[in-house]
Point group: C2
Chain length 339, copies 2
């Protein structure tokens, strides 16, 4: 394992932690079905703009779930302890020994503590060994490290949060392997083999779509409404496949100006264009099985686009992050809560 601190600490390397490291096969299997945890777990997926939490029993069953817009950028004065108390204080009061395990941007430079990245290829127990405890009076709170992929020279890639979702979905992958797509503001494509997160790539598809529909010359052409999975969306996917995105984008305008695209279809066409461009680069041309993990509305767009291009789609459980966090909690327990 290599644990890499971000920024200037990038080159620092730490020794692998638990003795269990010498039996990776054993651990991998255990993570799949969940290591035993001695008590309740509060699983938190704490992103830039949203906060999601699950109250889990010792077996990993979801007893309760809640969600808020309290992402790390909304936390006043960086007081994450107070913010967590406000979000799940009632759960903690009822179960003071609960183990809190958190993934996502909470482990970034803007979060509670910057937790060093773990380098790909990354086994589940390597990620577990990178967990870091944060100062928190109430019980125990741990943050999952992000992942770093340096397989493409000069093009490092990073993620925080999606690795835990993929860990939670490992059991659903055939032989623990496959291509996993996590669509979103920054879509992630993760290649998994035998339960090991091999490599991944990020696409700024959702963010570029938001910028174009909110601030560009195209926004003036758009009527209100949501993206529809219709013929205009699929036409956008086909055009987006052709590459040369900066040119293709303009077709949303020129087609609307020349009566080639109804105004109420510009949004769907543009969404299709961007997703088509992403797929042209992220998925092999030959028919491929893609495992989709994300919110239903967005997953439906990617599923339609992938089907249009001849690929097959398997939808994964959108609550996979809770399974992933419970599995990591099991590693903490197995190591006496000190990975």
């Amino acid at each position: 394992m290599r644990r890499l601190a971000p920024g200037r600490l990038l080159r620092a390397r730490h020794q692998a932690g638990p003795a269990a490291r010498r039996q990776p096969g054993c651990h991998r299997r255990k993570l799949h079905r969940g290591l035993p945890v001695s008590g309740p777990v509060i699983a938190v997926d704490w992103g830039t703009s949203s906060f999601r939490a699950y109250r889990l029993d010792a077996q990993g069953g979801i007893a309760e779930r809640r969600e808020s817009a309290g992402g790390i950028l909304r936390v006043r004065g960086g007081d994450f302890a107070a913010a967590l108390q406000a979000e799940v204080g009632d759960w903690l009061a009822a179960a003071p020994d609960a183990l809190v395990v958190m993934s996502g941007m909470i482990g970034s430079r803007q979060g509670w503590r910057e937790v060093p990245y773990v380098a790909c290829p990354a086994e589940p127990e390597e990620i577990a060994a990178g967990l870091e405890r944060v100062d928190w009076g109430e019980g125990e709170a741990w943050i999952v490290p992000g992942l770093l992929d340096e397989s493409r020279p000069g093009q490092p890639d990073v993620m925080r949060g999606e690795e835990t979702q993929v860990l939670g979905a490992l059991a659903a992958l055939p032989n623990g392997g496959g291509l996993v797509c996590l669509p979103g503001t920054h879509s992630k494509w993760v290649r998994v083999e035998s339960g090991v997160l091999q490599s991944f790539a990020t696409y700024m598809t959702g963010e570029v779509f938001d910028l174009l529909q909110g601030h560009s010359i195209l926004s003036r052409l758009m009527t209100k409404g949501a993206v529809a999975v219709d013929r205009w969306f699929l036409e956008g996917v086909a055009v987006g496949q052709g590459g040369g995105l900066l040119n293709r984008l303009f077709s949303a305008r020129s087609r609307a100006l020349t009566g080639n695209l109804p105004e109420d279809a510009v949004r769907s066409y543009l969404s299709g264009l961007l997703i088509g461009d992403e797929l042209a680069s992220a998925v092999p041309a030959a028919p491929t099985e893609v495992h989709l993990l994300g919110a239903p509305t967005l997953a439906a767009l990617y599923e339609a686009a992938l089907a249009k291009l001849g690929h097959s789609v398997v939808r994964l459980d959108a609550d996979a992050v809770a399974v992933g966090l419970h599995g990591l909690a099991g590693h903490l327990d197995a190591a006496g809560r000190a990975p």
Copy 2:
């Protein structure tokens, strides 16, 4: 010639105008060196966000030039006559017979009058024949039509203004032909052969750069300053060549996070990425001569990127639009001011 009205009128076709149409070679030659004009001309390049005007003598010499931020979107209540009077009223008072010829978005749906597009391939006299007179008490005022390229099925492209710049630069092209790049918010790439504007393509490079540096997650990483033609810019060009733009864009963030890119270099790297992606699609891979027509700062970026990729660059006169407008005024005079 086909003159095509935009929108619903797209399929309407008009008969070619002047008898001179039967002698295209003759006319083309004349436009290169400028047809005689009986008096002074006020040449106006009126875009979305800026207004540029030239006071020309009968021979096309620039007597005076001025520029303002008074683009068509800044004209109150759509009173373009008043706006023009405010911009060049003093020139008109001194020369009441001056012919006013205007190109750019002033001929769009948001402008003074929506002038039908002329279809590519377009000869100069076909563009001249599409000039339309607008209601204007002071002398004569004409608007140049835009161009429409329908050579790629389902991917129509449009321009308003750049066609006149290219007309003004024809004399500088070897045998009146070549690949002309007009970098900008919406970069245009025009293929010219023997003085005929054959085809073109638009790239939203400048607009996407502005959106990313102004509103995206990348903007938080950027220090203030301008884009520099340095090693980071050129590295961006090389990475951008690889395609998959939505993925490459993220490298501006991941490289900065991992210490692979200094913060004060993110802007230049991002600019290089976008221009590199544009060039990968707009310029053939084999060494090519590209004629650059644009503002010096932006032209310098494109020149450096093109040179890095092994292409040769010829800079064209940034005031070419004045030459183009004077040539079109000559056509009006030759046709008794009624094309």
